[in-house]
Amino acid sequence: MNFSVEIIEKDNAIICYLTGRIVYETEAMLKSSMEKAISEFQHRKIVLNMKDLTYINSSGIGILVKILKETKSAGKILHMCCLQPTIFEVFKITNLNQIFKIFDSEEEALEE
C-alpha cells in the first residue's frame, strides 16, 4: 500500500515520518503505528514529520485529532512539521492549526 510510517529516536523525542497517502485503505495502518509509537516509546515528545505526506482527507484528519488526544492523555506532546502546501491548506481550512503545533522544520519542532 502507498503509505508508510517510519519511526526513529532523536534527542529526547521520537520522529514519525509519514510517507505517501492517507486514504481509507491506509487509515488502519496510521492508527496502529501511532498507537504503537505512543505506548512503546518512553519519549515524552512525538514529532510527526509530514514532508512526504502527499494526501489526506477528512477521515485522516479525524484520526490525527484522535492521535493528538491519545498523546495528551498519555502525558505526552505531539508536534508536526514540514507540511506540504496543499496539506497545510487542508489543516488551515479545518482550523487544525489551532489545536496542532505546526513547525516549518524538524529542528524547530524538536527544540520547542
Partner: protein, 157 residues
C-alpha cells in the same frame, strides 16, 4: 469555433475500498480530456492546469463519495452511487447521487465544527476547494463545480 463537451457517468457499489481508485481514475480522465481541450479549443493553454487544481478536485470527489456511502447508502454494498463528471473548456462539474433518504445539508451548513471533533469536516473541505456546491431538494445528490481560471503566471495566490 470548436465546442467541446464531455459527460461521463459511472455507477459504483457503496464500497469505501473503491473510493481511492475511482477518484484517481476520474481525475486522470479529466486531465486527459483537458489535454484534448487545450489542443483543440483553447490553443495555448492559458487556463489553470489540472495539476494545480488536482488535489482539491480529488479531495472533493473523495469526500462526496464517502458521504454518499456512509450517510446516504449507510454502507449498504448492494446500494449504488452514481458519479457523473462533465467538462467543457471553462468548468468541471461533478455530481454524486446515492440511493439514501437524503441528508439535511442545511443543518450541516449551519454547523460550526469543533477543531477537536473527529468527524464532520468533509463538506467544509468540499466548499473550500470547489467554486459552487449545491444539493437537490431531497438531499441525496450533490453538485460541485470548479471553474478554470486564467493561469496566474508566477503570482502566488
Amino acid at each position: 469555433m470548436i465546442v467541446f463537451q464531455n459527460l461521463s457517468r459511472l455507477i459504483i457499489p457503496s464500497d469505501k475500498e473503491m473510493i481511492d481508485i475511482i477518484v484517481g481514475k476520474v481525475v486522470e480522465s479529466i486531465n486527459e480530456l483537458y489535454k484534448v481541450v487545450s489542443d483543440l479549443v483553447t490553443g495555448e493553454d492559458n487556463l489553470d492546469s489540472i495539476s494545480s487544481i488536482g488535489f482539491g478536485l480529488s479531495l472533493a470527489i473523495d469526500e462526496a463519495l464517502k458521504n454518499s456511502i456512509e450517510h446516504g447508502n449507510l454502507n449498504d454494498k448492494t446500494k449504488l452511487i452514481q458519479l457523473e463528471y462533465y467538462i467543457d473548456p471553462k468548468k468541471i462539474r461533478i455530481k454524486v447521487t446515492d440511493q439514501g433518504k437524503g441528508f439535511d445539508y442545511k443543518f450541516i451548513e449551519s454547523k460550526n465544527i469543533d477543531p477537536e471533533s473527529e468527524s464532520g469536516r468533509g463538506i467544509l473541505l468540499i466548499k473550500n476547494f470547489m467554486d459552487e456546491v449545491s444539493w437537490n431538494e431531497s438531499g441525496n445528490e450533490i453538485t460541485m463545480i470548479k471553474y478554470r481560471k486564467p493561469a496566474s503566471r508566477g503570482v502566488k495566490r
